[in-house]
Amino acid sequence: MATVNITIDGQKIAARAGSTVLEAAREAGIDIPTLCYHPALPPEGACRVCLLEIEKQRTLQPACTFPVTEGMVVHTRSEKVISARKFVLELLLSDHPLDCMTCEMAGNCELQNLAYEYGIKESRFPGIQHSYPVDDPNPFIERDYNKCILCRRCVRACNYMNGVEAIGVVYRGFQAKIGTAFDGYLEDSPCEFCGMCVAVCPTGALIPKQRKGQGREWEFKKVTTTCSYCGVGCQFDLNVRNGRIVQVTSNWDAPANHGLLCVKGRFGWDYVHHPDRLTKPLIKKDGAFVEATWDEALDLVASKLSEVKEKYGSDAIGVLSSAKCTNEENYAMQKFTRAVLGTNNVDHCARL
């Protein structure tokens, strides 16, 4: 690996050639705060929280976009840097509802964390705040742009991860906001509700509607699991509170999907707790289904299959499996069909 020698806060580092200062610093365990940066997205350089002092540069430079060069000397915590960061945070808070007490993202909000870290209780620069209506009627995503800090992670997620380009920045200057074309509802846009925008949002501006009022961030137990909808094998984290799923969050380390999900994986888990869901086998007796034990049910199925196979031959049996099952389950199913039932009549529903 080609490296370049740089110095960050007096610490000499052999940084990966072609990396940014932020990457080099983080790889060396040096913390630089960020807001618009997300490791899964191309850097934007918009929020100005990662500004650093780089020697020989006239102005402060963003760590997230500035490439490392040989001999570079960087200061991440100089007085100038700290005051620039505080300035940005104070400006952001001057146009942000300070309702962390009731905000769903409290405890997991990057803005809140930075305000805490830099001890910003109130802004020196109070002024007019936006008051956008929170009224998008879609069933999945709550869009509260009063909490938006315009880091544009959602836009990049939509454009670069999903390639849908449903949202972008509309208007200019202080009026700039995230919106669909003509600033309408998501339903009227090409949005596929994959929820990647929600996954990357650093504040409470974008949250799954399902989780509203379902608990605080720190109460959630994360359970990594594999999506049961299709055969890709996407993994994600079920956020569970009191034995019930509250939301699905991206697991950025998942080998198959690297955090990406589709609408089904992210929002389609409500069936889990559905009252109509079968939890016990049913056997039809006298024209009506009657609850049975597993042993009873399996015995019945085994005897009936044996009976059909004996009477009409193996090919009289067909097996239909489900795309909602895992690969392993489907493998087991076809093995059973071929080896036990002795037929190749096996298929599955392809997709849901």
């Binding site: 929020c47 940005v88 952001l92 800090i149 200019r172």
Partner: protein
């Protein structure tokens, strides 16, 4: 086909400015007139690009004579063709007139607007037909391209541009050649050349004019750049709001392609280059290069952080060279004439010329090209012709809405990239907006800040939110709701934006305000603390411009409106609330109100002073006993000096119930009103009526009481029991010239001269030759008095020009009528005499040198120009000082200029002693003294009630008097002239010169008032009919 041989060429400007003022119609009229007369084969008509002198548009030049005609409209054409093109005569009515002397200057080459310019980039503009490539070629066009392609390698071209020292004309001033080299060296097969023609500054049209007037110079520069860096494709990013520029570019590209100068195999070589136009949608931020590239690529026009720079990773991720229009347009000249030639022009580190769009409050607005290093003063006063309507220069904004302003103290600044930056402004792309004294710098900063925040793309936080917050604070200040800490907040936001914003737009957004704060912080503080906008611009702080301009804030609209209705007594009552000297000021006031009158923006200001005089004269028979508002108080106050400041202070304190005694050194009360202003301007009996009024309020006036001789401050306060003293001693000591012979007999200092006349001891002047030195009112008063006393010859010698004279214009005119001889740019150096008696004055001519802090050119002695004016008397009137002989041990301190030291509550260094009038401000006017008298009374009252000394802001109360006449009736009305005593009847007496106007004239004149005070009410959301009760208020103290 052989072209006809024309005997005359008429070049009609078709630039944007002249097109807006109607040059297309002028051109068409010219065409049809030429055709009508069958002159098509003799006279050629050319519609050119911009000639720069937009203020005078539509302009044209007739060759071969080079006659410059301005403001030529279609109806002027038949006469013009007849006279000039048929008979060969100049039509003087259409020639340019020098704004101050009104002298006609018929020839293009002699007009000062052009003589100081050096046109390199604009050398073809206004001269060639921009839609004809052959005219460009005939002027040497595309020679540089051929030289580059056939005689130079790309490296040599880059080296030539580097050695020329050309710096980017977009504003940042980066070395163009170096930028080319970066792109040239960047690895990659595909490279681009891009021209930034996204000119978006308000009032700037440099790039536009170059494209419209000489598009091929841009193309040639770009083709050469493409050859140098190895590009095959290029873009011109031009805003869609420039349709003419785009049209001419398209024509130029098509013609260049047709001539093999653009496209494949240029001039038969292997070099190919294709050029496309990208029309921008007009976002200001797209002038930022990375935003511009994003826009070309079809993305939202927003900047991105650099590095990587476009030279490495630009358009579509390929190495890209971006330059401004003017940078490219310079290139063909540099290649053709050589780097050394270019480097020899202008300044060593900023070679070449600068193009400015000169706009705002300057006589000659337009487009100019000047060598770098020319001074700011030369641009504004020589090329720009100075400030219109005799107003004072205040500031100039360079670099557009992201630049900064410079003030009068910078007029000698050499204009180039580095000096402007050092001075806190920026070169920018070339906008230059001049403002005069009527501009409020707070509002001015707000204008640019509003623009910059509206144009912010909203990407980075410092610009998106910081700019908005700054604008909110500034808006608050202009509405009178500011707090002192707001200035610090602005500076904090500015520092944060400069350090943290993503692109130059955000970093430079605070620039105009910081520059304004640097030079004009007082104005910000006035808005915040005093709730005043002296320029009369910020609506929430200004009732009407006249009232705002009046130092005593007299409610002009109300009394003018009442006079219109014949309600003279009520009108006078309103006047007296702020100024008890209506008879006096109706005669001698310089009428600051009139200089700011809104009607004056349309035709001429309302004759407010004449109205005032009529109103006061009408009520002259009714003695006024000023109302006393408060119960009698026990405290006694002494006022020293019975001039306008002292008498006003005494009156106001008496009206508050104090027992007031005025001590006057001279045998008569009135101060300068009595012994300074000659009787022909202010008759003594008129003055005495108003002094008697003040006495009726209970004020006691003791004359012949000199401070330091007959009494002291100690004796007043310790012995006589005065609890407070107001020093209103005026400035009654003449300044000395300090030249040889000033002690000779015959030298009579101005103030002493006027005082002796006023007190009945005039010197014998009969047949004497008199020289008065100075340019103020005292000098004119002395000259006109000497003339009245029988002097045979009266000279006024002044070291500056007539325009620089501080005396009132009407006084100067009257003196001229009376035969006073004025010698400008002349200064005495020696008084010549025999036997102790003067016989003449040796004077020296002065040349105009650098600009001083007042924006006037400093007179510089011209060596060897001395001459003698034979004279029997010399009256120096070059300024007045204050008699400080009494100050030792008084506890009252003075400044170096002899004014008294006071704080912002007008308190002197001794507790209980206050000061007002000329003794504080230096020599000023009656109304300024009255204003200080009003103010000092408030302060003294506050001190006596609380024992504290604090500045008490007073917001003037007002009434709303309905408008009772029809707006339509007086649209055409003209300002009347004051009837005067004929000059022949003035000699040998001091009879009043101005005779006053009659009732009908005055009442009609009042109706010319536009009542802009009512507009203000409306802007605050208040209806002015019927008048809301809460608006009828007394002055309130905040």
């Amino acid at each position: 086909m052989a072209e006809a041989l024309y005997r005359a060429n008429v070049l009609v400007c078709g630039g944007t400015g002249c097109t807006a003022s109607g040059s297309v119609k002028t051109f068409e009229a010219l065409q049809s007139e030429i055709a009508r007369r069958g002159l098509e084969n003799e006279v050629r008509l050319i519609h050119t690009g911009c000639r720069g002198f937009c203020e005078q548009g539509p302009v044209m030049v007739v060759y071969p004579e080079g006659i410059f005609y301005c403001r030529v409209h279609a109806e002027d054409i038949p006469h013009l063709v007849e006279e000039t093109l048929v008979k060969g005569r100049v039509v003087e009515a259409l020639t340019y007139k020098e704004p101050e002397t009104h002298q006609a200057i018929p020839h293009y080459r002699e007009i000062p607007f052009y003589t100081k310019q050096q046109r390199i980039v604009l050398s073809n503009c206004g001269l060639i037909d921009p839609e004809n490539i052959e005219e460009y070629i005939a002027r040497g066009g595309y020679e540089a391209l051929s030289k580059a392609l056939f005689q130079m390698t790309p490296e040599q071209v880059i080296d030539e541009v580097k050695r020329s020292g050309l710096r980017g004309r977009g504003g940042a001033g980066f070395l163009t050649g170096l930028k080319w080299e970066f792109t040239y060296r960047a690895p990659g097969d595909v490279k681009y050349v891009v021209c930034n023609a996204d000119e978006g500054d308000p009032g700037a049209f440099m790039d536009r004019s170059v494209i419209e007037g000489d598009p091929h110079s841009l193309l040639e520069g770009m083709i050469i750049a493409a050859y140098a860096i190895g590009a095959k494709e290029g873009y011109i990013y031009c805003r869609a709001e420039y349709p003419l520029a785009i049209k001419r570019l398209k024509i130029a590209i098509a013609q260049a392609e047709e001539y093999g100068l653009l496209g494949d195999h240029i001039l038969g070589t292997d070099f190919s280059f294709h050029l496309k136009i990208k029309e921008g949608a007009g976002a200001f931020v797209c002038g930022e290069e990375t935003a511009l590239l994003a826009s070309i690529e079809g993305r939202r026009g927003e900047p991105r952080p650099r590095p990587p720079f476009p030279a490495v990773k630009g358009l579509w991720g390929k190495p890209t060279n971006i330059n401004n229009v003017k940078s490219y347009a310079n290139v063909p000249r540099i290649i053709a004439k050589g780097a050394e030639w270019f480097a020899s022009i202008g300044m060593p580190r900023s070679p070449g010329t600068a193009i400015f769009a000169l706009t705002g409050k300057v006589n000659n607005t337009g487009l100019i090209e000047v060598p770098m290093g020319i001074t700011l003063g030369e641009i504004i006063f020589d090329i720009g012709g100075g400030i219109p309507n005799g107003k004072r220069f205040k500031a100039v904004q360079t670099g557009g809405p992201l630049g900064g302003c410079l003030s009068a103290q910078d007029l000698n600044l050499r204009v180039d990239f580095d000096s402007l930056k050092d001075a806190g402004a920026v070169m920018g792309s070339g906008g230059m907006i001049v403002v005069d004294e009527d501009t409020c710098m707070v509002e001015f900063s707000k204008f640019f800040l509003t623009f910059a925040t509206a144009e912010s793309c909203g990407k980075c936080v410092p610009c998106r939110v910081g700019g908005k917050r700054m604008l909110e604070v500034l808006t608050r200040i202009t509405e009178g709701k500011g707090r002192l800490e707001d200035i610090e907040t602005i500076k904090q936001i500015a520092a944060g934006m400069d350090a943290g914003a993503l692109c130059a737009l955000g970093q430079l957004t605070p620039g105009p305000m910081l520059a304004a704060l640097r030079y004009f912080e007082n104005e910000f503080i006035e808005h915040i603390v005093d709730k005043k906008c002296k320029a009369g611009v910020c609506k929430a702080l200004v009732r009407a411009r006249c009232t705002n301009a009046c130092p005593a804030e007299v409610d002009v609209p109300s009394y003018v409106s009442l006079v219109a209705q014949g309600r003279y007594a009520e009108a006078l009552e309103i006047h007296r609330r702020h100024n008890p000297f209506a008879l006096v000021c109706g005669r001698v006031c310089p009428a600051f109100c009139e200089s700011r009158c809104r009607r004056g923006d349309i035709d001429e200001p309302i004759a407010i002073r004449s109205i005032k005089r009529f109103m006061a004269d009408h009520e002259i028979e009714k003695p006024w006993t000023p109302p006393v508002y408060e119960p009698a108080k026990t405290e006694k106050v002494a006022v020293i000096g019975a001039g306008p400041a002292g008498l006003t202070a005494a009156l106001r304190l008496a009206q508050k119930g104090y027992k007031v005694t005025v001590f006057e050194k001279l045998p008569v009360p009135g101060g300068m009103m009595a012994v300074g202003i000659p009787e022909y301007r202010l008759p003594r009996d008129i003055l005495n009526i108003e002094i008697e009024n003040i006495k009726r309020a209970g004020v006691e006036i003791k004359c012949n009481q000199a401070l330091g001789k007959d009494f002291t401050i100690d004796s007043l306060m310790d012995k006589d029991g005065y609890k407070a003293v107001v020093l209103a001693i005026g400035a009654h000591q003449s300044r000395k010239l300090g030249i040889e012979g000033e002690d000779l007999a015959g030298v009579y200092h101005g103030v002493d001269f006027l005082r002796d006349i006023a007190l009945g001891n005039p010197p014998d002047m009969t047949g004497k030759r008199v020289v008065v030195v100075g340019g103020g009112n005292v000098a004119i008063d002395a000259a006109r008095s000497a003339w009245r006393l029988g002097a045979s010859e009266v000279h006024v010698v002044y070291r500056r020009t007539r325009q620089d004279m501080p005396a009132h214009e009407e006084e100067i005119e009257a003196a001229e009528k009376e035969g006073i001889i004025f010698s400008y740019l002349t200064n005495p150096v020696r008084v010549i005499g025999e036997n102790g008696k003067m016989t003449g004055v040796e004077v020296q001519n002065q040349l105009l040198g650098d600009f001083d802090r007042t924006g006037r050119r400093r007179p510089v002695p011209e060596e060897g120009s001395n001459f003698v004016i034979e004279a029997d008397m010399l009256v120096p009137a070059i300024g007045q000082g204050i008699d400080l002989s009494w100050t030792d041990g008084s506890g009252v301190e003075a400044n170096r200029d002899t004014t008294l030291v006071v704080n912002d509550a007008l308190a002197t260094t001794r507790p209980g002693v206050f000061a007002a009038g000329d003794a504080v401000s230096g020599p000023a006017t009656v109304i300024q003294a009255v204003a200080q008298g009003n103010r000092v009374a408030v302060e003294v009252d506050y001190y006596l009630r609380t024992g504290k000394v604090e500045k008490i802001p007073v917001v003037p109360g007002y009434e709303v008097v309905e408008q009772q006449f029809n707006l339509e009736d007086y649209a055409e009305a003209k300002r009347p002239q004051m009837p005067e005593l004929p000059v022949a009847e003035r000699r040998g007496n001091f009879r009043e010169v101005e005779l006053g106007m009659d009732e009908d004239t005055i009442r009609e004149e009042c109706k010319r008032c536009l009542r802009c005070d009512l507009e203000w009410l409306e802007s605050e959301g208040l209806a002015f009919e019927p008048v809301p009760d809460h608006l009828l208020v007394e002055d309130r103290v905040e």
